[in-house]
Amino acid sequence: MHIVVAMRQLADLVEELEVNGDGTDIDRDFVKFVSNEWDEAALEEALTIKDESAASVTVVALDEPDVDQTLYAALAKGADRAVKLTGHDPSAWVRTRERAQRIASFLAHEEFDLVLTGVQAADDLDGQLAGILGSTLDIPHAAVVVGVELTGSSLRVAQELGGGLVGVSELELPAVLGVQAARQAPRYASITRIRQAMQTQKIEEQEVSLEVTTPQVTVRRLYPPEKQGGATMLTGSAKDVATEIVNILRSKGLV
């Protein structure tokens, strides 16, 4: 069983995002890039499968700011191999459709049974990776996956549908899954472990040369939403605010 986990870097949402000069992208020089949290769940799921069976796990990511950190952390957590794809501008916005093509072109030379990736990334303007990748590779896919059951060559996935409904389906392998949540919270890789990985393991680089021509949305402008100021803000000490809230509840006969 060979599991490929597609990971990626994303602008850290802790920071204020600024828009670049021509207003069509974030100002990438001034943001911090961190790994996409849903990809971390995908990695965790892959590693859990590895823990229970003899799967091998390859992590693949496009070259993006600080991606090495993410890849080494994945190695430290137990991934067997890390691959960094080059051949594009690492400091530009790689739109999801192009991302899928680049990963697909890497996978074309790989034997794999399962691709796991995060259900979404916060800049997925052109759709989410799992479905696009599945379609590009012409293999089955599922998104918002909350359960993966792998027995021999059969794959059962649980997906969150609306209204608390869970849909269970069986997919043929190989398949691509967009993971919403792993069975457990992502494990910790201590910095010592990560540093050991940096010293003892290598990130494999592969160049993907690709003429990418996907039809896509043309971004005219990116801008922060206007504050609508809907809520009446309660101010004062915690005690004051608590008193006000309790008064509201009392007025409705709730406490």
Binding site: D12, Y188, S190, I191, T192, R193
Partner: protein, 435 residues
């Protein structure tokens, strides 16, 4: 470990009837009902020595097995007061099979150092605990609260997960010019290493602002690193993340190498400890001072426009006092403030009671609360209140938030918690401390 930290009732182990037979003469002694625990079944033989061996094999882990059970450490251990703890108890539990690497006890030591002070065998929990924790972390056994702090520290260079670019946001409220070296890299006398809680915690920011005003009024040539500053990470190290500490140190040293300064002054005893004791081990020597030391050296030049009429008690931070021997500087400052009446708590100076924030305790509040009858900070606040003080003076950035919270939770709201820098600033500017 008892949930809630209540003390265990003593277990009566004496046999009601017992005869001791001499293997040599065959003579028998009736020792029924005697209070000798030597007559209980010798559980030790049920356990191997592997538990100690594994710990002793770690660098820093050697001393746990030196313990000969004299028991001096237990009554001085702050955690034992609210739970069952202390080196002797840990030693005993390891002896009887506890896997320290996977136990909750591993995370409860605050590395306050009070046990080491009294231990005749120099059982050194300040080294044992971080060493074992490091292994536990590498195995991924880490309380979730702590894991998040480590991840944030790694990611943002501060334990709060705040935006690194906003590290000097506090300077806006200082009302004095604060030089940021990145903007103005001229050599400077005092590099003010603000550390996390003075940079980001709102109450810490107020102390940082007060300190900047004091330095300015004393004409001290000082500057900060601003967004280039990262935490020195000493508590992360003691909580077991040596790798993170080392990686931070590399970054810190690199930034420091860009600038010329005479000394580093920090409000954070933990950072101070790192610079003074740990950095030199890696070959990085800086003249480091705690801010109380710098100010105490200039006390004659401080002009107080007003008084601060209050009864004040002072909490010795473990990492300033016990770990680095500085008990006088903060007291000198407090005594210099006109109007201050200094009252000492029963546990002070060498025997100061830990606030619970050290060694990662700052980030294990929820985890530890499952094992303690109350927070150390709450216990400490009670002690402070018992002195009849109006103000609990502190000199560590962790403490304002810990003690203010504890003052509330223990019904001691009347007790004001203030950093010494804030108190000096108030008296210097003739403000009213009650406002």
């Amino acid at each position: 470990m008892p949930v809630g930290g209540n003390k265990q009732a003593p277990v009566i182990t004496e046999l009601e009837e017992a005869i001791v037979v001499s293997p040599l003469s065959g003579r028998e002694w009736d020792v029924s009902g005697a209070t000798s625990r030597m007559l209980e079944s010798r559980v030790l033989t049920d356990y191997g020595s592997a538990g100690f061996a594994r710990i002793a094999a770690l660098e820093g882990g050697e001393s746990l097995e030196y313990c000969y059970g004299c028991g001096k450490c237990v009554p001085v251990c702050p955690v034992d007061l609210v739970s069952e703890y202390g080196p002797r108890k840990i030693h005993r539990r390891v002896q009887t099979g506890l896997d320290l690497f996977r136990s909750d006890e591993l995370w409860m030591c605050t590395t306050c150092g009070n046990c080491l002070r009294v231990c005749p065998k120099q059982v050194n929990m300040i080294e044992v605990m971080p060493a074992v924790r490091e292994v536990a972390m590498a195995d991924g056994t880490i309380p979730e609260e702590l894991q998040q702090v480590m991840e944030k520290t790694f990611r943002y260079g501060n334990a709060l997960g705040e935006n690194p670019r906003r590290r000097h946001a506090w300077t806006k409220g200082a009302d004095v010019e604060v030089r940021v070296l990145a903007n103005d890299p001229r050599p400077v006398d005092v590099l003010f290493y603000v550390e996390d809680y003075w940079s980001y915690h709102p109450r810490g920011q107020q102390a940082a602002q007060a300190f900047a005003r004091i330095l300015t009024s004393l004409d001290v040539d000082f500057a900060i690193l601003g967004s280039e500053e990262k935490t020195l990470g000493d508590s992360q190290r003691l909580a077991g993340e040596k790798g993170l500490f080392e990686s931070l140190m590399e970054q810190v040293v690199e930034v420091l190498s860009k600038y010329q300064f005479n000394r580093i002054v920090t409000p954070d005893p933990h950072g101070f400890n790192a610079l003074r004791k740990i950095y030199p081990k890696y070959g990085h020597d800086y003249e480091a001072m705690h801010y109380s030391q710098l100010l105490a050296s200039m006390i004659d030049r401080i002009e107080f426009q007003g008084t601060l009429d209050a009864k004040v008690t002072f909490h010795d931070p473990c990492y300033l006092g016990r770990h680095n021997g500085e008990y006088e500087a903060p007291r000198k400052l407090l005594e210099a403030i006109p109007g201050v009446e200094l009252l000492e708590m029963g546990r002070c100076r060498e025997n100061s009671y830990c606030c619970g924030g050290g060694g990662g305790g700052m980030w294990l509040d929820g985890f530890n609360s499952n094992h303690a009858s109350e927070r150390l900070s709450e216990r400490r606040v009670r002690e402070a209140a018992e002195t009849g003080a109006d103000i609990l003076a502190v000199a560590c950035p962790y403490e304002v938030s810990r003690f203010e919270d504890a003052a509330k939770s223990t019904g001691n709201e009347h007790l004001r918690v203030m950093d010494i820098a804030e108190m000096l600033d108030i008296a210097m500017r003739a403000q009213d401390w009650r406002i």
